[in-house]
Every structure is written in C-alpha cells, then in structure tokens.
C-alpha cells in the first residue's frame, strides 16, 4: 500500500516544526530555508497553509530530467533525487507545475520531498495533526466519514 501526505491547513498554527524536522532529517541542521515542506501564512485571512510535493504518479520532474536523476521509489511512490547524478540544471524546477522541487545553492543540486523513505518526519513533528500520512487510495476517507455523519444527522432530523 502506498501512502500520501495529506494536509489539513485549517489545523496548522504556523509553528514550523515540520520545516525544522524536514531540514534536520535531510541535513542534520535546524534550517527552515532547507525544508522541502513550507508553511505559507495568509495573514489577513488568519490562515497557515503547509505545502509540499504531492508525488505525481506521472511526474513532470521525472520526465524533464535529462540525466535521469529523479527516480521512483516503488515502495513509497516518492520521486527521489539522486544527488550523485543530479547536475543542477534546474529543468525540473521549470517543469514542475507546483514549485515543489527547488535548487539549492548550498549543494548545487535540486531538493524535494522524498517522503523520508516512507516515514515522513514532518508528520511526526506536527503538533496539531495538520499533516497526515494516509492510504494513497483513501486520502478523502476522513472527510467522507465526517460528511456521512453530517448528512445522516440531517436526514434523521428530517425524518
């Protein structure tokens, strides 16, 4: 079973623990500027929105890479950058429609979410369960269940 990162922005408080966990797992340093997941504050609306790679099945970055440096981890479904192959040409950063693969001046390579090999650190670090790691076929399961409950309550009220 493959799993997907599933983000519930409403729960995010903007603490950036996910960004610290991500950079620490990848680089051994607390450094949000190196995080593969980013939280965007929408100040006027009072919202915080985490955003990261959704691991497209048919991924633009993989197709665009001229040196086949981005490979698919068949177990997790993650598109993983091979640092020793990547030449830092940045073509993938142009191809990606979502901006979730980025060049790093520090290493001369691109960096993106690799799902931490199937145990994402951001999920474990989030104090409010705003980032979940769920069955890729059923990312809508919890939402469906809550709507089922509401719909049923409505139906019962009518009856």
């Amino acid at each position: 079973m493959q799993k997907s990162l599933h983000i519930i922005a409403e729960r995010c408080t903007g603490c950036l623990q996910c960004e610290m966990a991500c950079s620490f797992e990848a680089d051994g340093v607390f450094n949000p500027s190196r995080s593969r997941i980013k939280v965007f504050p929408l100040h006027e609306e009072g919202r915080f929105v985490p955003y990261t790679c959704t691991q497209c099945a048919d991924a633009w970055c993989v197709k665009a890479c001229p040196v086949d440096a981005i490979v698919i981890n068949l177990e997790t479904g993650a598109k993983v950058v091979l640092e020793n192959v990547c030449v830092g040409c940045k073509v993938c950063t142009i191809a990606c429609p979502f901006g979730t693969i980025n060049y790093s001046q520090a290493t001369g390579k691109v960096i993106k979410c690799d799902l931490c090999g199937g145990d994402p650190e951001c999920v474990k670090a989030c104090p409010t369960e705003a980032i979940l790691y769920v069955d890729a076929d059923w990312t809508g399961y919890d939402k469906m269940r809550s709507w089922a409950k509401k719909t049923d309550a409505g139906a019962r009220a009518e009856a």
Partner: protein, 615 residues
C-alpha cells in the same frame, strides 16, 4: 553548537557593523539571552546613563535553544536601560524574528551610539549593513514590514520595527516583530527610536545545530509530550489563549478594575476568551478567527482576531478589517477591565493600534485608567484632554485617546508619559499604579498576595513575567498555595524569580513552565549546549542573573525604598470577592524575602551572596 558564538556589534554613530566572538566564559555563567546580554550591558554602560542618550546601549539577544526544534524556541529579548523606568529592562518576544536572527548565525546584536539620520539594519546571514530609513520614518509597523520585505527582494525576510510611538518618545514604546509580536515593556522601543534606528531586517539560511542531536531529539520530544499532556499547555492555552484567565481571575477577586479601586469587574464576561469565541449577532462571525503559534511552539496560545466591519471604531477603515493579532489577557485587562470598557471590538481595535504604532497596551491602559480617575474627580478636565470625556467605561474616549497616543498628539502625548509622570504632573502621584515607574499587569496583589511581593521586587518594575506566582496561588502549579496568605510567599517568589531568569536566558517561552519544571528544561539545554546543565545549575544561574540585575539597579540609584507598592494596595482593603477586607501584606513578606536572598535589611546583596554567585 547551540550558541553561534558570534556577536554583531553595530555602532550607529560611526555606521559600522562588526563581528566579534561571544565571550564563552560568560556564556557558561549566564547561559544566553536575558542573562548573557545583561552581563554585556552592565559591563559596557554606566548605570547612571540617561536611557535615551547615545551612551545607552541596546542588545537584541537569542538563547542557545532559539531556532531549534525545542518547543517554544522562538524567543529573543531586548536588553537595555529602560526608558520608562531607568532600571534594567529586558523585554521578551516571540514570533519568527528571533529564530531567523539565530538562523543567520548570530547570538546577539549590540547597538551602540546614535545614528545621525534614520536607518535600519539589514542582515543576510553574515552580511550586515545599515541602510537609510528616511523613507520609512513616520510610517507604521504595518507599513514598514512589507516595505522592507519588498526592498530585500526576499519575502522570507523577518522584520522588527518601531512605529510612531517609538519615534516620538512615548515612554512605553515597543519593538514589534512579525506585525503583532512585541518586546513590549519598559520602553525598549523608545530607546530604539532615540537611536534613530527604525527597524532590523534579517534573513538566515545557515541554520542551527546542537551538541548531541540524538539526545536533543529525545529530550525535546519528551518535553513536547509533557506540554501536550498538561491541562494548561495542552488544552486551556491552545483552546482559549491567555484570555482563559479573565473569568478565573475575576472570580478570584484579583481582577483590578477602575484603576485598582475595585478587585472585580462586572464586564469581565464580555471581554474574555468565551466572548472572543462567541458568534456576533451583527455579522455572524466570531472575534476569534484562529489560534496561532510562534516559531517552534507546540502550545499555540496566540490569538488571531477580526473586528466587526460595522463597529464604530473601524467603519470606513478597511485597513483594520483583516485578521491580525488579537487580545491577550494582559492587554484585554489593561485596555478593558482597568478602564471599565467592556466593548470587545473596541479593545481589539485598540490592541491593533498598539501593534501598528508600537506601544505597550499594559502601560497604556493603566495610564488611561489613572487619567480617567483624575478626570472623574476633577483633577483634569476637558480643557486638559482636548475635549475628550475621559470617563470610566467610555469606549469612545479609549478609542480617541489610543489614536492620539499612537501619534503622540494632543492629550495622547501626556498619556505617553506613563502613569507615574502623568500623575506627578497633576499633583496626584498616589494614583499611579506602578512600581519603579512601570505600570502593573492584570493581577491585584490584595487577592493574590505573592504577586505583590513579585511586583515590588521585580527588577524591571511592576511585572507579572518575573515571578508568576499566579501559577501556584491560583492554578496550583507546581503546588497550590493560598492566594490570601503571605506565609511562604517570600520563598515562592524567590524560587519563581530565579527559575524564570534561567528560562528567559534559554530561548524558551516562560509559558512552558505551566507544565515544565527545570527538570524538564535542563535535559534539553544539556543536550544542546557544551557543559553539564543540571536543574541546580540553572537555578543558580537564575539567582546569579537576578542579583546582577539588582546590582545594576542599585548602581543606577534605586534603593530598597523602591521595593514598594502604591498606598492603595497597602491601605485600601479589597471591597468584594474572596479577598474582601484584605490589603497586600508586603510589610510581612519583604523582610523575609531580603533575608532569603542574602540581602541586607535595606535590600542590598551582601558581599557573601555576591561572592557565592560570582557576581
């Protein structure tokens, strides 16, 4: 490792920015942030210096845990000689600015001198330079922050700045970062303004490392679990914010109202946490939009609020219609209960103004309350106030005076003096509810006795954040003591003061101590920092810091006689509630406190005490 071991020294007179190594001998004795920066300050300035002269210095300091994944690792402090008090000042702030400064590779910035023209400091990792701020002078915090971000070309730049209050010498001006987080008290923003320093912008991409990553992850994870499992930090604060206290403290009979004339406020229910969450009849929305965390914080006590567009304060002012920093308990008390204004939307608007123009809502609200008392008894009239009918309970008057104070215009310029100078000016010094020139926060020491001793002895003037004995006396943390008893309070206050000084020097937020003792904090510091950091060493570090601050104040001209409270709290008994008939028993607690501290009967640390602590 935890400390970056680098200080940025900025000489505003010469226009220079220089890097120098952190004194690691001092770091081992004073830890960081409050303690370490105070050590630098007392070593470098004359205690008798005029706070607003170029010879005063101002230090922005992070702690060793700032910018790490420890919960609440956002904190930085501004240390200087306070404009409001003339005492040692240390104002602590959260948000994201402090962590960014650390990420850029700096433990602290020492500002000295005074710039000839308005400038701001720009930091991108190890590159620091002063830039002209002439085009930013006169503009609010809410205008300056986006303007500097745009200039930097990097939206992830973090900014702290002063508004009109700091520029114009309001004596309790704040330094505001991330739009609504503030180093709020004692007039640190006034000092910044006096140096013609408008803002500090920082972008850090270096990151922070720790001594033993594996032990650090284990210790911080254990700490986070303690916070999550605790009723206050895991449930109360995230759900209701600090405003959860409004009704609790009112029921305790310790919610000062009408300039401390009363200890309970009838309108408390209209301005507390429950009221913020209630859906408004007018527009179908609640005042509270969401909760918000500072950097690294797993508690998230912060409130984000939105004002009803049709409320009289913001009609035709769309710039105040968006969501921004909402009311915290202290602000809601000072702006509301102290002045008897029970209009939640009005208080939220005035709180927005405090953030926008950078002034402390506690000192402002308390000063307005003193002015209201003088207005009602005829000491001041509409001639003095420029026509404003400054009556208790008047939301219109509070709004008018807040708008003027932000700009330092009209009677607002007098409110900007703080209550001590204002009441002296009108011949009524006894009406200033302050210690060492700084206004009280939101707990009446007749109803919570330990807070009276805490206020009287706090090194930065009246303050709840130096020994928050409310935790013990009301909430039962770490154990319940009777709020109406004076016995045992001297020891309690000393223990809280010392532990707090250590926490304030670590980079962590004091609010963790609702759940954490030094036993929870020490392993986190120990895993991050060189040297063995035990709970005992932290407590001793805190005691060392406390005595160092005390020594500075004594050298600045304060004496034991300044460790007192206004006569109202010592002579006029509480009229209602559980504390009815009680005054604050400071006279009983203070001698015992001096003795426990190893100070003389006049409040001077003995040579043995100073020697023992190495001050």
């Amino acid at each position: 490792m935890a400390w970056t071991e680098k200080i940025l020294r900025v000489n505003l007179t010469k226009g220079t920015c220089e890097s120098e190594p952190l004194n690691m001998v001092w770091a081992a004795e004073y830890l960081g942030q409050r303690g370490l920066a105070t050590k630098y300050l007392v070593d470098e300035i004359d205690p008798k210096v005029d706070p607003l002269s170029p010879d005063n210095k101002m230090i922005f300091a992070t702690g060793p845990l700032t910018g790490t994944c420890a919960s609440t690792s956002a904190r930085y402090s501004v240390i200087t000689k306070g404009a409001l008090t003339g005492a040692i000042a240390c104002s602590n702030s959260g948000g994201y600015f402090g962590a960014e400064l650390k990420m850029a590779g700096w433990d602290m910035i020492i500002f000295e001198g005074k710039s000839e023209k308005p400038v701001y400091l720009s930091i991108v990792n190890d590159k620091a330079e002063l830039r002209s701020a002439e085009h930013l002078w006169g503009r609010s915090v809410w205008e300056v922050e986006p303007a500097i971000k745009a200039e930097s070309g990097d939206p992830q730049t973090r900014v702290c700045s002063i508004g009109a209050a700091g520029e114009n010498g309001v004596l309790y001006a704040c330094i505001v970062n991330d739009l609504h987080r503030a180093a709020g008290r004692s007039g640190v923003g006034t000092v910044m303004g006096s140096k013609n320093l408008k803002a500090v912008a920082v972008r850090g991409t270096v990151g922070v490392t720790v001594k033993d990553p594996k032990a650090f992850m284990a210790a911080t994870m254990a700490g986070k679990k303690v916070l999550a499992d605790n009723a206050v930090t895991g449930e109360g604060l995230p759900a209701f914010g600090t405003q959860i206290l409004m009704n609790i403290i009112n029921e305790t009979g310790a919610l000062p109202s009408k300039n401390f004339h009363d200890v309970q406020f009838e309108g408390a229910g209209k301005i507390g946490a429950e009221a913020m969450a209630e859906v408004r009849a007018s527009d179908g929305k609640a005042n509270l939009v969401t909760k918000a965390a500072c950097f690294g914080c797993t508690i998230a006590c912060g409130r984000i609020s939105q004002i009803d567009k049709d409320h009289f304060t913001v009609v035709n002012k769309p710039e105040y219609w968006g969501a921004s920093g909402g009311l915290e308990y202290e602000a809601a008390w000072a702006l509301g209960a102290a002045t008897q204004v029970d209009d939640l939307e009005c208080l939220t608007y005035v709180n927005f103004l405090c953030n926008e123009q950078g002034y402390d809502p506690i000192s402002f609200g308390s000063t307005v309350a003193a002015a209201m008392e003088m207005f009602e008894d005829g000491t001041i009239t509409t001639e003095d106030t420029g026509g404003i009918k400054l009556k208790f309970g008047s939301a219109e008057a509070l709004t008018q005076i807040a708008e003027l104070t932000g700009k330092n215009e009209g009677f607002g310029a007098e409110i900007g003096l703080g209550s001590k100078r204002l009441c002296e000016k009108y011949g009524r010094p006894e009406l200033s509810m302050s210690v060492k020139g700084q206004e009280f926060p939101a707990y009446d020491p007749r109803g919570i006795q330990g807070m009276g001793l805490g206020y009287a002895t706090a090194n930065r003037g009246a303050c709840h954040l130096r020994s928050y004995t409310v935790a013990s006396e009301i909430l039962g943390i770490p154990e319940k003591t009777d709020p109406l008893e004076t016995e045992g309070k001297a020891g309690l206050v000393k223990a809280f003061q010392d532990a707090t000084a250590a926490v304030d020097s670590s980079g962590l937020c004091l609010f963790t101590t609702f759940a954490w003792s030094l036993d929870d904090i020490a392993p986190q510091i120990d895993a991050a920092c060189e040297g063995d950091w035990t709970p005992e060493r932290l407590a001793e570090t805190g005691e060392r810091i406390w005595n160092m601050e005390r020594q500075f104040n004594l050298a600045a001209g304060f004496t034991g006689k300044d460790d007192t409270l206004p006569q109202r709290l010592l002579k006029e008994a509480a009229k209602t509630g559980p504390a009815e008939g009680k005054v604050c028993g400071l006279d009983v607690m203070l001698p015992e406190y001096y003795s426990l501290r190893g100070w003389s009967v006049d409040g001077v640390p003995s040579s043995q005490t100073l020697e023992r602590l190495g001050v």
